[in-house]
């Protein structure tokens, strides 16, 4: 085999200086005997580490290096000599040692001639750039493949995270809801959610996991899963956050935690209860200007046994609350200035609502950070507006009680320790059954005897049906509110409607004979039944709002209505 032929087999050597910070050695296949294919195929690959003096020597060499003449205290040289290598031809491209050719003794046992050495030098000079190009192509292909694999994985991660975010915004009667979510990377650690709760309430969550990218996204998914599973079973927002903290704490990776704001809305009344685990305070726009809904609490996953302040507010018609993450207020302009809470408050002071408000905030943010902004953190915005539509419809019904109608007397408020149940139902036909069942559940601890309980259920269902049919005109968007309480030894059930059909008039007393004769309609038994089923029924009005109060004495006195 000729020298060229041998070299052709040897050229695809392994190893070159890596692109990493720590250089690896160079390696070439070494022919133990340049004249025998069998020997060459078994030749060992000898690596020259960058720390070996030979590495630097070869990098600076201008031609072939004859090991016998080399005076260098080098482990690599000794290893090469032991392997029978006589000549090393460095392959240098653009000043970088990318490999070397090792040659053993000639078959003739004669020394390599000067022509041989020139030929090898020429060959190495021409081969090195080509080999380098081949190396670069191969490295680039590997990098592209790795990048494509990573991008594919990120696409999957993005899709998975999208599954955890709400697919659609909730439709709340009398409310307008808008949301925006923009992770800083393919996946983010911010999250928001809407959780349907018993009693037609809705939970609204906005949270932020420390960090960004996949680790934050995984923790975000876990946190959201915990909140979704726990929220429907726990009455108060503070209890939900405390429970989530206990569940997440043992699972929390080092140096990670979750901030979270949890807010529960009663859409019909505008009542909002909320608790905060270290998240940005929501901003609310009301008749007195812009304010924050303040509640304090430690982020989730930091310390055990945390409790969370629970606060309450009522959003009136026309009021707006904005929930947001720190990707907004902590965004920086090119000069380093931070967007800040004052700008958020100023934006809230505008008249914008819903998606218009969200767009307004985002436009202002982008104008502030500039065109070349590299988004620093995930961004989440949730805007909740209590529109005045529902109340306007009610107000249009009546400006006040008509002359001769019942006195405007609202029933006194119930004390919290008296209340067994507060329930708001859409004014939809059939919901009187829900009212009846919920009231029955609420009074079950009182041990009312079955006969009286059945009477109460009938009275509640009839009163709720009246409220839905007349007070709400069977419009699900017009709510009916129900309160159950024990007041001074009496069980009190209040059913409040919006009086869209006007106050209950003194309806005609039903007379079965008249109904059978056709002089009265077959219907009209509701109020009659209610009066006979409970110890007292009172009707109070305040503006268009009407409250029917049912009273049952709990002292054991059997209610018997003379007929």
């Amino acid at each position: 085999m000729t020298l060229i032929g041998t070299l052709r087999q040897r050229v695809p050597f392994r190893g070159r200086r890596s692109t990493g910070t720590e250089p690896t050695g160079v390696t070439a296949l070494a022919p133990g005997d340049a004249g025998t294919t069998a020997a060459t195929s078994a030749a060992p690959a000898i690596e020259i580490p960058p720390s070996d003096p030979l590495f630097g020597f070869l990098q600076a060499a201008t031609g072939v290096v004859e090991l016998d003449r080399l005076e260098l205290d080098s482990p690599a040289v000794r290893e090469l000599r032991d392997a029978g290598i006589r000549i090393v031809v460095p392959l240098v491209a653009q000043g970088e040692l990318i490999g070397a050719l090792y040659l053993g003794p000639r078959l003739s046992d004669q020394d390599y001639s000067s022509d041989d050495r020139k030929l090898l030098s020429t060959l190495a000079a021409q081969a090195a750039p080509a080999i380098r190009v081949a190396q670069l192509v191969r490295e680039q292909a590997a990098e592209i493949q790795a990048r494509e694999r990573l991008e594919q994985e990120m696409r999957v991660a993005t899709m998975i995270q999208q599954q955890f975010l709400p697919h659609e915004l909730p439709e709340l009667p009398g409310w307008q809801v808008a949301a925006h979510y923009a992770p800083a990377r393919a996946v983010g650690g911010d999250f928001y959610d809407f959780i349907a709760l018993p009693g037609d309430r809705i939970g609204v969550v906005v949270g932020d996991v420390t960090g960004k990218g996949v680790p934050a996204a995984l923790l975000m998914a876990r946190t959201q899963s915990v909140l979704r599973s726990e929220a429907p079973h726990l009455a108060s927002p503070g209890a939900v956050l405390a429970r989530a903290n206990e569940i997440l704490l043992p699972e929390m990776p080092a140096r990670m935690f979750v901030t979270c704001l949890y807010l529960v809305i009663e859409p019909a009344t505008g009542r909002v209860t909320y608790a905060n685990a270290g998240h940005n305070l929501p901003v609310v726009r009301g008749p007195d200007g812009v304010a924050e809904l303040r509640a304090t609490g430690m982020p989730l996953g930091l310390l055990p046994g945390r409790t969370y302040d629970e606060k309450e507010a009522t959003l009136g018609p026309g009021q707006t609350v904005l929930l947001y993450s720190d990707g907004i207020d902590e965004a920086h302009a090119p000069d380093g200035e931070m967007f800040g809470l004052p700008r958020v408050r100023a934006l809230m002071a505008s008249e914008a609502t819903g998606s218009e408000l969200v767009d307004h905030v985002l436009e202002s943010l982008h104008a502030f950070v500039g065109r070349d902004w590299d988004q620093e953190d995930d961004i989440t915005l949730v805007a909740l507006d209590r529109t005045g539509a529902l109340e306007a419809a009610i107000a249009a019904r009546a400006d006040g009680p008509a002359e001769g109608s019942p006195a405007v007397i609202a029933p006194p408020p119930l004390r919290a320790d008296e209340v067994l149940l507060r329930l708001t139902l859409p004014g939809a036909d059939g919901n009187e059954r829900i009212a009846m069942d919920r009231v029955a559940d609420a009074v079950s601890p009182l041990g009312i005897d079955p006969t009286r309980l059945e009477r109460l259920k009938t009275a509640v269902s009839e009163a709720a049906m009246n409220a839905i049919e007349y007070g709400s005109r069977s419009d699900p968007a017009v709510p009916v509110e129900i309160e159950v309480a024990v007041v001074a030894g009496d069980l009190v059930v209040r059913i409040t409607d919006r009086g869209l059909s006007g106050p209950l008039e003194g309806t005609e007393e039903p007379d079965l004979d008249a109904k059978l004769a056709g002089s009265q309609k077959p219907r009209g038994w509701g109020l009659f039944l209610i009066r006979h089923m409970v110890d007292a029924m009172d009707v109070a009005t305040a503006g268009p709002v009407q409250t029917v109060t049912l009273t049952v004495h709990l002292g054991g006195g059997e209610h018997v209505e003379a007929v």
Partner: protein, 118 residues
């Protein structure tokens, strides 16, 4: 939990029986009148309303019963009711339906006052 209304007409002679199921509310219209029309197509002198499988009845349901009773009285037909719970027996008393509809515990032993056809 609410249960949808349904009715089965059992053509027992001389008094057909209408077996009522579920809730008697506005949703029982037209199921209840239709069942009554089917039960009276042969002109019986009496019809038995069986409430044993009725869990809930509201004032609208009572109004439907009033309509059946009005029709029955126009045609000289009597109505009987069985299977009423204590609570709905009380409501039949309060509304005076019980004055016109004979409430029986066991229709087999308490036979209808009049047999034959109207």
């Amino acid at each position: 939990m609410s249960r949808p209304f349904s009715a089965d007409v059992v053509a027992t002679a001389p008094e057909p029986r209408i077996a009522l199921h579920g809730d008697i509310t506005a949703d029982a219209d037209p199921g209840l009148p239709d069942a009554y029309a089917a039960a009276t197509s042969g002109g019986p002198r009496s019809v038995l309303l069986d409430f044993a499988d009725v869990g809930f009845m509201n004032s609208t349901g009572i109004a439907l019963v009033v309509e059946l009773l009005a029709d029955a009285m126009q045609h000289g037909r009597s109505l009987r009711a069985t299977g009423l719970s204590q609570h709905y027996r009380e409501i039949f008393e309060i509304t005076r339906l019980a004055e016109h509809i004979t409430v029986v515990a066991d229709p087999a032993t308490e036979t209808a006052a009049a047999g034959g056809t109207a």
